[in-house]
Each structure stands twice: as structure tokens, then as C-alpha cells.
Amino acid sequence: MTALRQVAVVGAGAAGLHAAEALRRAGYDGRLTLVGAEDAPPYDRPPLSKHLLSGQWQPERLTLREPHALAELALDLRLGVAAAGLDRRARTVRLADGHEVPCDAVVIATGVRPRRLPGAEAPLAGAHVLRTLADALALREDLRTGGRLLVVGGGLLGAEAAATAVALGAEVTWLVSTPAPLAAVLGTETAALLAGLHREHGVRIHVGTATGVLERGGRATGVRLADGTDLATDTVLMAVGSEPATGWLDGSGLALADGVLCDAYCAAGDGVWAAGDAAAWPDPHTGRHRRLEQRTNATEQALHAARNLLAGPDGTRQAYTPVPYLWTDQYGLRIQAFGRPGAADQFELVDGTLAEHRFAAACVRDGRVVGAVGIAAAKALRGLRAQVAAHGPWPPDQETRP
């Protein structure tokens, strides 16, 4: 650690910020460069599809650290410039503006970029993605004029945007590829409850697969489906997943597959660490590499990567073994989940009922608790967390039950 004088954190989102903070908190007092492709200082992304899109919150509210708190970190802050390359032999990060940042160690936290549909690979009026503050403000502007919104993609982002937009008065169609959107994320029962809420609030759920965005006169006019039909709309939101933003690492010699491949300690190579949406590390339960595009993971993995970075090769490094957590806010309800609920899991209620929109349930696969999901029952849900962490048996062993 004494030899460590220059550290670069690439990516100035939540993971990058938390990595930088954790390094300082642990006593690292050398040069600390934080590189961010966006102009804005680190901000929080989850509200983009909710409070920011609805207009309830203004952009300032998303700022993760006040200017004075950021200043206290004594960063070499490079905002508005993307990283363009990593030379591991020379130990430099090359920036898009031609500057080079020397570094003894680097934390990769460049996150993901949203996938786009054919026909809208390049920016197209009326066709949106939702990842950055600028994306959200552009979509908000289009929704301000009312009209029809077509949300493409059955994930959480699409669901939240659909819920927000319909509350704003838009005529919303949610295009999903399976009749049970979100079941793979929240389990079949909770997903069905949410789909029902969407319909009750006037969202039209359409099952189909988008093959491309239709355009006329320089503006999106709809989406073509795999069955040959067209859906007309005024505004399209492409919420069709994302890809790790790791193009800048091509040629670095790092292992890149779906993300930056790390070991259990979040190390991707000698002096190279990764955290957040772009980091793929071996899941302790399966041994397979996976990424977690979750806000809580950005923080927790960044803390781990930073601590392990400072621990050095002979230090007490800690394997990263998180209990995944996600939440989503739709129609005034907050849905929370630990672990990995799946579509085929048994749904074992421990509190409340689906009908009253208040419950906590264990998600059981092959006799093991692999996840927990709930609404308005935070304490009962938290009570399942230890079971989820341990992939404990179901029904729980009476002797170890608290």
C-alpha cells in the first residue's frame, strides 16, 4: 500500500463515487483521479424513471454529494470526458481528449449503455433510451406534450417508465415479449399483481417482439413487430436492456465477456479492479460469472473493490458475497426483493396476502430459499434476508429459526 501513489477510478456514477470515497476513508491519500463521461457530478440513477421523469424532482435532487463533500475527497476530477483506453503495461488510462492518467491501480466502473433498436441506433427524435439524466429530461419533454408512449421492454425500467407516464396522462402501451413481464425478476405471483395494476391504471400491455423503430420525416412513428404488424405511437422508449460499457477496454488484455471478468475479490487483473453494472464476478452460489445491474450492488461492490485494492496481494482480501437487493416503485407501492426470485419458484407467504398488497414471501427453488419478495412488509421481508443469504432450507429448520 505504501507504493500506491496514483489510483484512477473510471466511471463517475454511484460505483465510481463510492469506490473513491471508500479509498479515502480507508486512508489512501495519494492522487485519486475520477473520470466521468457525463458532465454532471455523480448522481443517482434510480429516480430517473420515477421522480425525475414525473417532474416531482428536479435534477439537483439526484446529486449524490454536495459540492463541499466532493471537494473533501480531493479528487482529480475529470468530468465530461470518456476513457478511451487502458494500457496495463504503461499503467495509464487514456482519455478521449488525448490526456493520459498514470495509475498504479485502476477501478473500472463504467457501467452499462442501453441497447437500442434497429432503425434508432443513431439519435432519432421521438425515440428514447433511459440511462442518463439527459435521457430522462428528453423523454420528460416529449411526454409533456401528451400523446401516446410506447414502452418497449418488459423489465423494471420499462415498467417504471410506463407507470410514471400513465400517471402523467400519456396513453401508454407496454410492449413485452412474454405474457408475464417481470416474472423472471420478481417471481410469477408478484409480476402478475403488477401487470394487473398496470392494466387497472390504463396501461395497455401488448405481447410481441419489436424488430425495429419506424421513422418518417426524421421522427419515430412506431415500432415494427416480429409478426409483421406495426404499432403506431408518438414517442418510443427503448427499455430493451443494456450492455457493459467496456469498449474502451478492447486491446487492454483484460478478459471481457458480458462485462469485465473479475475474480471473487473483484480483481480483473494485476492492479485492475471492477465494480458496479459492468463487473462480472463469480456468483458464490453458482460459480458462474454474472453482473448485477442494481443500485445497491454499485455501492457494495465498489466498497469491496476499494478495500481489496488497498489490502494488496498479501493483505486480507475479502470475497464479494452480496445478498442482492432491488426495489421498484409503481402506483404508490414499493416492491422489494432480496436474492434472486425466479419465474418457476415456489411462492411461500410468511406475512400478509397478495390481495391486500401487503405481503412478504420466500421464493423457494429445490427446497432452498433463493429469494424473498414483498410489498409493505419491510420487517418481515428483512427477516427472510438471512435465509436468502444462506440459501437456507424451506421449510426452515425449526431449531435455527429465530
Binding site: 445497491t296 454499485a298 414499493r334 419491510a378 428483512r382
Partner: protein
């Protein structure tokens, strides 16, 4: 130590309650943090710092007061 929380930012993960159950709790309906002790005793300071560190929403602020 003075602890303040921002309930609007809280995402309800409950990480703070796990780290410092004597200082933080959660509302049942949405998991939002509830502050039990704004001036926790010294023996809890480390746990409270841990809670602030792991808060995914950076909703916990600590001042040395």
C-alpha cells in the same frame, strides 16, 4: 456524533438496520429508514459509520457534533 437521514432518498434496503439496529429502523409499509437515536452513544459510532457507508442511497449523514 449527530445522525441525520433523508427519507426521500432512502431506498429501503434495510442495510442500516442490519448494521446498527439500535439507531435505525424501517417503516413497514415501504421500508423507509426511521431514525431511533440521532445522538448515539460512542460505542455505537463505528456501527453507525458502517451503516452510513453501506447505505446504497447515501441517505445517512453524519456530523461530528
Amino acid at each position: 456524533m449527530l445522525v441525520t437521514i433523508d427519507q426521500d432518498k432512502c431506498c429501503g434496503a434495510g442495510s442500516c438496520v442490519l448494521a446498527a439496529p439500535d439507531v435505525f429502523d424501517q417503516r413497514d409499509e415501504d421500508g423507509i429508514v426511521v431514525l431511533l437515536d440521532a445522538r448515539p452513544p460512542a460505542d455505537l459510532h463505528q456501527a453507525v459509520k458502517d451503516a452510513a457507508d453501506v447505505c446504497p442511497a447515501a441517505a445517512i449523514r453524519l456530523e461530528t457534533a
